[in-house]
C-alpha cells in the first residue's frame, strides 16, 4: 500500500511538466536523430549498427533522469519524510526503482519501434530490439539507483553519476546489443538469457546497496 502510493506519486511527478518521462523521451529522440547525421547517409551502414545504437541511446536516456531519482526528494526534504515512514529503506529503494522503470523504461520501450523505423532496422531485428530494451531498462534503473543514492551528498552529483554507473552497465549494453545481433544474423547466442539473468539479479540485489547508500546520506 505504501509502496503503491510512492510509485504512484513518482510516476505522477515524472509525467507532469518538466518531469523525467518527457525529458528521457526527448533526449532519446534527439540523440537517435543525431546518429545518422553523424555517421553519414550511406544506406547499408545505418541498418547494420541500428540495433546497438538504439540500445545504447535507450540506456543513456534512462540514465539521464537518474540523478533526479533521489536528489529531488533529498533537496526538498521529502526523503526525510519518506524515511520517517512505514517502509524500510530497502522497500523504499524497490519502489523508487519500479517507479523509475515505469516512468522512463516503459515509455522508452514504447517509443523504440519508432527509432527502429527511423534507423532502418530490418524487420527481423525489431522484436529482438524490443526484447533487448525491455530486459535492459530494469537493470539500468536498478544499477543507476545505486549511483543515485551514493551521489546524493556529492557536489556536481549529476556529472559523477554516469561516470560511476556506466562501467557497471557494460554487460547490459553488450548483451542488449547481442540480442539484436543474434536476430539479424539468425544465430542463437544466449544473449537474451544472460541479459535477463543480469537484470533479475540487479533488480533483486541493488535495493540493498541503494538502502545502504541512503542510510549513509541520511544519517551522516
Amino acid at each position: 500500500m505504501s509502496c503503491l502510493a510512492l510509485i504512484g506519486r513518482d510516476v505522477r511527478l515524472a509525467s507532469r511538466g518538466g518531469g523525467s518521462t518527457l525529458l528521457a523521451l526527448a533526449f532519446f529522440a534527439a540523440i537517435v536523430t543525431l546518429v545518422p547525421l553523424g555517421i553519414g547517409p550511406r544506406p547499408g551502414l545505418l541498418h547494420a549498427v541500428a540495433g546497438g545504437i538504439i540500445m545504447l541511446c535507450a540506456t543513456l536516456a534512462a540514465l539521464l533522469s537518474l540523478d533526479h531519482l533521489f536528489q529531488a526528494d533529498f533537496d526538498d526534504g521529502s526523503l526525510e519524510l519518506l524515511a520517517t515512514g512505514p517502509l524500510s529503506l530497502e522497500s523504499l529503494a524497490v519502489s523508487k526503482i519500479v517507479a523509475h522503470w515505469l516512468a522512463t523504461g516503459l515509455p522508452l520501450l514504447a517509443i523504440s519501434p519508432l527509432a527502429a523505423f527511423a534507423m532502418e532496422l530490418p524487420g527481423n531485428g525489431l522484436f529482438a530490439l524490443l526484447q533487448s530494451v525491455a530486459l535492459a531498462t530494469p537493470a539500468v534503473s536498478a544499477m543507476g539507483a545505486i549511483g543515485a543514492s551514493l551521489t546524493l551528498a556529492a557536489k556536481r552529483g549529476g556529472l559523477i553519476l554516469p561516470l560511476i554507473v556506466l562501467p557497471l552497465l557494460t554487460p547490459v549494453v553488450i548483451f542488449g546489443a547481442g540480442i539484436v545481433r543474434s536476430a539479424m544474423e539468425g544465430m542463437a547466442n544466449g544473449a537474451a538469457l544472460y541479459l535477463g539473468a543480469y537484470s533479475l539479479a540487479a533488480v533483486l540485489l541493488s535495493p540493498f546497496a541503494v538502502a545502504a547508500g541512503l542510510r549513509t546520506n541520511l544519517s551522516a
Binding site: L4, G77, S78, E80, T84, G85, P86
Partner: protein, 205 residues
C-alpha cells in the same frame, strides 16, 4: 503506528562533522508532554531532533521509545517509523496540488486524519486544488504542519515550527499541538522563542 508512552534519552553525545557538540544529554518525555529545546545557534538542537528521529547515527541504546502497552523501539529504523517529522525543509512537492501532497502522505503513512479537514484547519482549504508551487513560504510551512495531522504519529519532532508563520498560524499550531498532546501524543520542538504551550523545556549550551 504504536502509541508511545515515553521517550527516553540517556547520556547521548552529539557529534557533527567530527566536532563534539554535546557530551551527555539526558531527559525523558511522557505522553501528553510538550518539550521545547532551546539554546544558541550551533549547539545541536537540530542534531538532537534528527538523532531522536533516527536520521542521525548515534551510539546504540541512547534513545529509546517505550511503547504502549509494552515493548520498545530503540533501533533507528524502528524509531523512524514512529515519528512525525517537521524539519527545516518542508518536503512539499511543488508540482502536486495541496490535496495531492497530503493525500500521498495519507496513503503512504496509512494515516487516519482527513486531508480536507487538515487543510481547512490551517486555512488552506480554498487552495486545495492549487499546485503547491504557488504557495508563499509561510503557506508551505502551514502545509507541512498540516501533514502531521494526516500522518497520525504519536511523537512529533518539530524544528522551528513557528518560523515564517503569521500570528493566526501560530495560534493554530499551538492549538493543534495542545490537541495532539491532549489525545496522548507528545511533542519535542527546537525553538528560539518559547512555544507558549510547553510543559517542560531543555536548555542546551
Amino acid at each position: 503506528m504504536s502509541l508511545i508512552a515515553e521517550l527516553l534519552v540517556k547520556s547521548l553525545p552529539l557529534v557533527r562533522g567530527g566536532r563534539v557538540l554535546q557530551r551527555d544529554i539526558s531527559f525523558s518525555v511522557s505522553a501528553g508532554e510538550i518539550l521545547s529545546i532551546r539554546g544558541p545557534n550551533g549547539v545541536g538542537k537540530t542534531s538532537l531532533l534528527r538523532a531522536i528521529a533516527g536520521l542521525l547515527a548515534i551510539p546504540d541504546d541512547c534513545i529509546i521509545f517505550r511503547l504502549h502497552p509494552n515493548g520498545i523501539a530503540a533501533h533507528p529504523e524502528e524509531r523512524r517509523a514512529n515519528v512525525g517529522w517537521l524539519g527545516h525543509l518542508d518536503g512539499v512537492k511543488r508540482q502536486l496540488s495541496l490535496r495531492e501532497n497530503l493525500q500521498f502522505h495519507y496513503r503512504y503513512n496509512r494515516g487516519s486524519g482527513g486531508v480536507r479537514e487538515a487543510l481547512a484547519a490551517f486555512g488552506l482549504g480554498h487552495l486545495q486544488e492549487l499546485p503547491a508551487q504557488y504557495l508563499s513560504y509561510g503557506q508551505r510551512r502551514r502545509l507541512a504542519f498540516a501533514r502531521l495531522l494526516v500522518d497520525a504519529r504519536w511523537l512529533w519532532l518539530l524544528d522551528e515550527p513557528m518560523s515564517a508563520i503569521d500570528s493566526t498560524g501560530k495560534e493554530c499550531i499551538r492549538r493543534h499541538i495542545q490537541e495532539h498532546c491532549g489525545k496522548g501524543g507528545m511533542v519535542v520542538a527546537a525553538v528560539h522563542e518559547p512555544l507558549g504551550v510547553e510543559t517542560a523545556s531543555l536548555e542546551l549550551e
